[in-house]
Symmetry: C2
Subunit: 500 residues, 2 copies
């Protein structure tokens, strides 16, 4: 058999895998955005059954043989195909020793965990989630044990899933640098920062007005209307089923219009990435292979570097005023800009500001690392969480709903959180290069955000899925990740804002 | 093997079938309520692939053997199980001769037809739908040819799918009686009816207000909040995934608040039926086996007999006023009641009134009968449609978007439409009996609609899925379908309303 024939046979199987992946993805989307409470349990069971079918396709002897053969002798493959095979081979090694029974039980456990996390958060009762969290940790470790690859620690294996080559030493150093420069800056702001007007931030803003503004933001970001939908969920996320079907979700709080604005900008960034990879990637099942930090880089680029800039606020201010009647008639453009950038130690990661955000991630990183590595038990999580919030952010956590139950992530696994912080740092490093090519904030002030998207499409989206993180950031910016660009950016912005 | 063992084995297969049915159902729901335009084609292909898997389960030798054995010797089965087996056996005979290839091609064609119907309607261009409609007719006839059962005509086979035992003679007589009494009444109203105030019907009413009112209506009807969702779609429908997950959809028109109100009442009726069958039915895969006319009976019961009654308008009027600000401040309760009951020959079935509605159905019945039976071609449909609208309703059809492209139904098959008319007639016959048991409209005027739902649960939902249509209406009302109750009801209501 020639490699051309192998690729043809492989693509036939991948096409079928995609049907199951998309279907399970849509059932998940349905569970998050449509299904009533009573329907969640059933939905989880259905997803697990389809997951079994997907498992069979991913573990068929034929599929595995093709991946191995093409990996061992990639003669005649295009570079994009070769990278796709490498990804598939890596995934294959990770799960080749899973039994169907193990996969099924893990699926059921994770789906159940989601429901129990939701219930625990609603009831503010960690004990409702406790057993599920034990089970998620347990399945995570078992899955690592079953991997063909070997890692120095369980948590390193989790990191590798989200950021290939990621390790604890690198992240310890990364977060160490952040800690040294951000905590003092935060403390200085608390003590000496000029007060910022914020009385209007909790003014009721009807959800239908917020929704109209969200749609405007997505359009401004440059998303294709006929290929994008916007819906509502508890914990906003973005997903896609190919480039023609991208789903952005958000959450509206009537008394916190700011929350939805930056959530939408963030998710819209993810959506742009999903919609704008090269055609060749989609055609070769090579799309959507970028690391999570690369994805978070783009979402947080739009949320913060663009979204919370003076230039962007200047551009959207008139539209916000137009859509919200007299609600913000007494608020100036400058006051809006300052208010959306207020930095303050707080409890909720998703509602936290650009400056303190990474400290929330730091805490999660430190906890999930020791939890997965078996150095603490699940029962110690709430206490440890609260202690770290006190130590790093100086805040008291009154209950677990706003403490360790606030995020959905741990109901499905570990290792994702660091991506948010890495993404921030990547973004600042990329912005510096983008500014050498054109007047970024001049364009943003005119609402020409398509210039930004076009640049990202040419320089970032064009290669993310086929490069490992370090290769990629070097390709885009000419050097490896350097957290100092990000820290410089934060210091400059916040010192000016608070007149320090 | 004992029958107890057979049932156990069968239920295992049925459980798995249900997973695929629910998954396909959710993909369909997603396509209608969530997916962006560009994603529709892909979604149709995915549904077809899952449909192939479902096909395999429904055609497995083991499944068929169990159904045949349990059908031929039902010893020890409960009556509910016996009926479930009868239904399954009937379905088995209908599709036993389908090849996987045929089923797959039909699925692909029907899913494609949906997209093309949508495109044709949007573009007001019948030619965009023409080939698909030819294909739907073709597959319909081929499917009938492949059936084990034999029918006097192709269309009779279609009718049997929706109303077991339904036939052209019965429906010709049914619609004949309707025609004789309703057309003259309609003409009398046009000529001599007292004018009804209607200036406020097209006043803009923001969608968020309409949505709040819709949620209120569903709650008033007695739907369980934790098991029901409300969403938006082009052509409203209701679906469910067991009694714990019921989905109502509606469509909002800013300049036609009435449309959404009665669409919601209608779909809410379907939802109540889905949510309130006996536990024993759900446990034995015997739920949701009622005929379509039985289902339409309940939906149109809530839409018209209840929803358009003076009592109901009296009850909801204050809530409507509360939710819509000053928009309807100058409209009295009586004026609202009269306006929602305006009868007038019109173009659009779903927007038509209670009186002329059945004439819209009559036209579709007459056309689909000759189309499926091969007496006319697809190309003749638009002309025939327009001619019948002129003859029966006296209206000129200006274009196909408001003519023969207005309904989604023919993109998936034929034989459904008569159910709407039969459902109306069943409803009036059932209301007469319900009123012998309690003061229906007294309860409605107090908002005690749960009394209505409870009565339906006890007398109607309790037996619909396990009885054939004629058995069922005799069980509930003591006699076979008698269209005169419905015609009497219409004449009485409309003569009073228009002071004739």
């Amino acid at each position: 058999m020639t490699n051309k024939q192998r690729i043809k046979q492989l693509f036939k199987i991948l096409d079928q895998q995609q049907v199951y992946q998309r279907s399970i993805g849509k059932l998940y989307f349905d569970m998050e955005c449509c299904a009533p409470d009573e329907g969640l349990e059933q939905a989880g069971e259905d997803m697990a059954v389809l997951g079994q079918q997907l498992y069979k396709l991913e573990h068929s002897k034929k599929y595995e043989r093709l991946i191995i053969e093409l990996h061992d002798d990639p003669e005649g493959l295009t570079p994009v195909q070769k990278k796709m095979i490498d990804h598939a081979y890596d995934r294959y090694l990770k799960v080749k020793n899973f039994t169907p029974q193990f996969s099924y039980e893990m699926d059921v456990a994770l789906n159940k965990a989601y429901g129990q996390w939701l219930a625990a958060k609603k009831a503010n009762d960690f004990s409702l989630f406790r057993d599920s969290l034990v089970s998620v940790v347990d399945f995570t470790r078992k899955a690592v044990d079953l991997r063909e690859q070997k890692y120095p620690t369980y948590y390193t294996a989790c990191l590798d899933d989200y950021e290939k080559g990621g390790n604890e030493e690198q992240l310890d150093a990364f977060f160490g640098a952040l800690k040294v420069r951000i905590i003092p800056l935060m403390q200085q702001i608390v003590k000496e920062g000029k007060p910022i007007r914020e009385d209007f931030l909790r003014r009721p803003c009807p959800i239908y007005q917020q929704e109209a503004f969200s749609r405007y933001l997505l359009e401004t970001e440059g998303l294709r209307k006929t290929a994008t939908v916007l819906m509502t969920t508890e914990h906003p996320f973005t997903t896609n089923f190919g480039p023609k079907d991208v789903r952005v979700t958000t959450h509206y709080f009537e008394d916190n219009f700011i929350s939805n604005i930056f959530s939408t900008m963030h998710e819209g960034g993810h959506a742009l990435f999903m919609q704008n990879e090269p055609e060749e990637f989609y055609e070769n099942h090579a799309d959507n292979q970028m690391s999570n930090a690369m994805h978070e880089c783009i979402s947080r680029f739009y949320e913060n570097l663009i979204g919370r800039s003076e230039a962007f606020i200047h551009f959207v201010y008139p539209k916000l005023r137009e859509l919200t009647g007299d609600t913000f008639a007494d608020v100036s453009e400058r006051e809006l800009y300052e208010a959306v950038n207020i930095a303050r130690p707080s409890l909720i990661r998703t509602e936290s500001d650009e400056l303190t955000y990474c400290l929330h991630i730091l805490i999660r990183y430190e906890i999930e690392k020791v939890l997965v590595n078996g150095e603490i038990t699940v029962d110690e999580v709430p206490t440890l969480w609260n202690a770290k919030y006190k130590e790093y952010l100086g805040v008291d956590v009154p209950n677990d709903t706003v403490g360790c139950l606030q995020d959905v992530h741990w109901s499905s696994g570990f290792g994702y959180f660091p991506s948010y912080a890495l993404g921030n740092a990547y973004g600042a490093q990329i912005l510096r290069i983008m500014e050498q090519d054109f007047d970024v904030f001049g364009a943003v002030a005119n609402g020409e955000l398509t210039k930004v998207a076009d640049w990202l499409k040419e320089h970032v989206f064009s290669c993310a899925s086929i490069l490992d993180p370090d290769e990629w950031i070097r390709e885009v910016t000419g050097e490896s990740l350097n957290v100092n660009y990000y820290l410089d950016y934060l210091e400059k912005k916040y010192k000016a804002l608070y007149r320090l």
